[in-house]
């Protein structure tokens, strides 16, 4: 029997990057197939190609042995492929039934919606796959897990036999994950084929029949869960090449720069995403936080910076409790910030470079004199940043969007470090930038560390974490689950901790 999906030699290039490079994938009818890989490994691009949202540059795609090419999702839906996105696309004010039929409304005479027919069809689908949900509930009243079920029912309602689930567990709490897995097994029993993206290895090993690992746009392996351990998978995901050991002398002092005590942070749905986290960063020390994205790192940094409220616990900067103070106050007290998304949180893309350098420090000299902006001072300081951090730009009056990603990042790092912060929160400081810029950023952070800066480094790049950090802590599902010494930890161990695999093995 022909496989449900077969991808041969899929290649997709974007300007400057190859997202998928000769990817091969074979998904058998009626199996649960997991796609694993780090962020940026090309998983999402591959799914978008499969669902018709993007076109591959090269390669062949076969559905049940038949060669296809989709130019839009509706063509994929016609072939029985349905996708559940990580971010739900539901209208809160409508009922479950209404959400399910949007865009596929059965019509009776006079153009009216045939709700009776829709309701019957919804019940059929629900019964066939063992998914229960009240069709008349308002979506806004549903839990996250239930909303996800609505999304799944939505694609089944449209006749999908092949389901793509994009990181379905990312938004769920553990109990909801169990429920989802039960539903997935039921779906499989009833003949559906499921392709799902995940990078929590314990989950993958629990549910998948087959696992395909992507790394840097390539398919590196396709394995069966009973043939591999979580450790093996982690190694496949992150690669086994060890980082060059950093022989820099420890500059850790016993003066505390930042102390986070028993901090709990809630997300927008009031669920705890950071739970009882305590971590101390000394001056001259770099503490690295390892973790798969979405395990509370963003909310932790937001709470430390003050853009998100702490539900309980304390944040102490150089001995002063700053838990309830404003972002501006924290920055004035010497807290620097390299945000994880430079376009969203770091830059004013339409503004000139010198205004971007002033951002975050605009109340202080040399950027201001009292209430007045000091344009000359700002420009002079920006020239310094440009020199010192090698920001490649024709001049400092161009808008920030004109710079390449690496140069934008060097500008942000420069702007924060030139202010001599006592504590720096650096979230993915080298994400998406080229090797040269990466090395420059690392050097700058190391130099500031030697000068006594306390750094909390959040990164998905394990080499970076091991190479830069004096201490590594691992964050998983909102809690710190391990403290490791970077000198005797391998990326493979770290990967195991990050994905919860080591906890599984230990228990």
């Amino acid at each position: 029997m022909a496989p449900a999906i077969e991808l041969i030699g899929i290649t997709k290039r974007f300007p400057g990057v190859i997202a998928n490079d000769d990817v091969n994938l074979r998904v058998e009818e009626g199996e649960i197939h997991a796609i694993c890989g780090e962020n940026g490994a090309g998983k999402s691009t591959l799914m978008k190609i499969l669902y018709g949202m993007q076109a591959a540059d090269e390669g062949t795609m076969k559905i049940r042995g038949e060669e296809v090419s989709f130019s839009s999702p509706s063509e994929a839906i016609e072939r029985g492929i349905g996708m559940v996105h990580q971010h739900f696309m539901l209208a809160d004010q409508l009922t479950v039934l209404e959400n399910v039929i949007i865009g596929a409304e059965p019509v009776k005479s006079g153009g009216r919606i045939d709700f009776e027919n829709a309701r019957a069809h919804l019940r059929e689908v629900g019964d066939a796959y063992g998914l229960t949900i009240d069709p008349d509930d308002l979506v806004e009243r549903l839990e996250v897990g239930e909303r996800q079920r609505v999304e799944i029912i939505k694609v089944l309602y449209r006749g999908a036999k092949i389901l793509i689930l994009d990181e379905p567990t990312a938004v769920l709490v553990p109990q909801e994950v169990d429920e989802l897995f039960r539903n997935m097994r039921d779906l499989r029993a009833d003949g559906a084929t499921i392709l799902f993206i995940d990078h929590k290895l314990d989950e993958v090993l629990e549910i998948a029949d087959t696992i395909t690992v992507l790394r840097q746009g390539h398919t590196v392996a396709t394995v069966k869960p009973d043939e591999v351990s979580a450790g093996d998978l982690a190694e496949l995901m992150v690669g086994s090449e060890l980082p060059t050991p950093q022989t820099t002398r420890s500059t850790v002092t016993d003066e505390v720069g930042l102390e986070v005590r028993d901090l709990t942070v809630l997300d927008d749905d009031e669920r705890p995403v950071v739970e009882h986290v305590s971590v101390t960063v000394h001056r001259g020390e770099i503490v690295g936080i390892a973790g798969v994205e979405g395990n509370g790192q963003t909310e932790l940094t937001d709470a430390i910076m003050g853009t998100r409220d702490a539900a309980s616990g304390h944040i102490v900067l150089l001995g002063h409790d700053i838990t309830t103070t404003s972002v501006r106050h924290r920055r004035q007290q010497g807290l620097g910030y390299v945000p994880q998304d430079r376009h969203r949180e770091g830059l004013l893309l339409a503004a000139p470079l010198w205004e971007n350098v002033a951002l975050g420090h605009q109340t202080e000299p040399p950027y201001a004199h009292g209430p007045w902006l000091d344009r000359a001072g700002s420009k002079a300081r920006t020239e310094e940043v440009r020199e010192e951090f090698d920001v490649r730009t024709p001049n400092i009056d161009v808008a920030a969007h004109a710079l390449s990603g690496g140069n934008q990042q060097k500008l942000i790092i420069g702007r924060e470090l030139v202010a001599n912060p006592s504590v720096l929160i650096a979230a993915h400081p080298t994400r998406g930038i080229d090797v040269g810029a990466q090395a420059a950023v690392w050097d700058a952070i190391r130099a500031a560390r030697a000068a006594g800066m306390a750094t909390l480094l959040i990164s998905a790049d394990l080499d970076e974490l091991i190479g830069l950090s004096d201490t590594i802590v691992v964050m998983l599902r909102g809690s710190l689950v391990a403290t490791l010494d970077p000198t005797d930890v391998t990326p493979r161990d770290l990967g195991a901790y990050m994905t919860g695999a080591s906890l599984e093995e230990a228990s």
Partner: protein
């Protein structure tokens, strides 16, 4: 063509192209409706070349400019203050009432009237800001509602109340609030203009509020570009999340910019108040909405808004003469105003893209040079 020249040419090209397009399209409309476009434009230009018409245009441009600046302050913060209309009428009537009730020395009297107008406008607009930060109410919705409350609610009610209480007097055949004493009115500034021109005839008076408008424009420019507050405001408008991470409180900026926008909106009724001396039962309306168009045309830039206000004022004033000469229907100016806005928005976007591409190219060139 070097970089600077190219930038200047691009900056000028957009409004010129928009204007040319508007003239072209209006000509077609005129031809279709059976008028000779050249006759119509000739009449408009001939009329505008007269000193007295120019005074009319400046008098008309003054409130349009203030209204444009009020809208622009909101725009710079990504806030759409549609409430300028209600804010200025409300401020107008309260300032007229207070001005008519007190008797003070000249400078102080005028200051009181202007301050009251700004405070009322600012407070009323601040209400929309407060609703947004405390209850999450979109400012477009709240200002539209506040417009209705101000115009057909408060102002209409006050007029009937005052009429019933006999506080509204008939002056020169017109009904309005108690006239403000001479000490509360700014004199015309004909003599200033006459320094460079001949005497102004036909009893035309150039409003002194023009000077207030110029001052507001300068303050707007300085506040926005030279102060930390202005930086915070622009940053919040460009990228609220980055501004937040940069220590700027979004709530504070929302309230502050709504209050400022409203305070400037409060001045929009001032030219009419200083001219008539009281709040008439049928004041000039629509200036608040026109201000949005003027700000759009002027790219929220103080000088651009001035140009936009002058163009709109010229067209407004021209509509009268078209009716007199019969060269075309007066409604053609409304078509022109609409087309200019539309064309300007398109032209600005095209120029923005060209500029962005230029900058990216030059930055890439710098990268290549640095790499070798």
């Amino acid at each position: 063509m070097n970089g600077t020249t190219r930038r200047v040419v691009l900056a000028v090209a957009a409004p010129v192209a928009a204007l040319a397009f508007a003239i072209g399209l209006s000509s077609i409309v005129l031809l279709i409706s059976g008028s000779n476009p050249l006759d119509a434009y000739g009449d408009m230009l001939k009329h505008a070349s007269k000193l007295e018409t120019q005074v009319d245009i400046l008098n008309r441009a003054t409130p349009l400019y203030l209204s444009g600046v009020a809208a622009a302050i909101g725009f710079r913060m990504n806030l759409f203050n549609i409430g300028v209309e209600g804010q200025y009428l409300f401020a107008f009537i309260v300032a007229a009432y207070v001005g008519g009730q007190v008797s003070l020395p000249a400078a102080l009297h005028v200051t009181v009237i202007i301050s009251v107008a700004m405070i009322v406008g600012g407070a009323y607009s601040g209400l929309a800001g407060a609703l947004k930060v405390t209850r999450g109410v979109n400012e477009v919705i709240s200002t539209i509602m506040l417009n209705a409350i101000a115009i057909s609610g408060i102002v209409a009610w006050l007029i009937t109340e005052w009429q019933a209480g006999g506080e509204i007097s008939a002056t020169g055949g017109r009904v309005g609030t108690e006239p403000i004493a001479g000490s509360g009115l700014l004199p015309d500034i004909n003599s200033w203009l006459e320094l460079v021109t001949r005497d102004i005839r036909q009893g035309k008076e150039l409003t002194a509020v023009l000077l207030v408008a110029v001052a507001v424009g300068l303050l707007y420019h300085v506040l926005l570009n030279r102060t930390v507050f202005g930086f915070d405001l622009r940053a919040s408008g460009m990228n609220p999340t980055a501004a937040r991470a940069g220590g700027i409180s979004p709530k504070r900026m929302i309230v502050a910019s709504m209050v400022l926008s409203g305070a400037v909106a409060g001045l929009v009724g001032l030219p009419e108040l200083m001219d008539t001396g009281f709040f008439p039962s049928n004041p000039i309306k629509g200036l608040g909405f026109a201000g949005i168009a003027v700000a759009l045309l002027g790219r929220n830039h103080p000088a651009g808004i001035a140009l936009g206000a002058l163009i709109f004022a010229f067209l407004d004033i021209s509509s009268g003469i078209l009716q007199v000469t019969g060269a075309a229907s007066r409604e053609i100016v409304q078509i022109m105003q609409g087309v200019i806005i539309l064309a300007a928005v398109v032209a600005y976007e095209v120029v923005r893209r060209i500029r962005e591409r230029d900058e990216a190219a030059s930055a890439a060139a710098a990268l290549a040079v640095g790499a070798t």
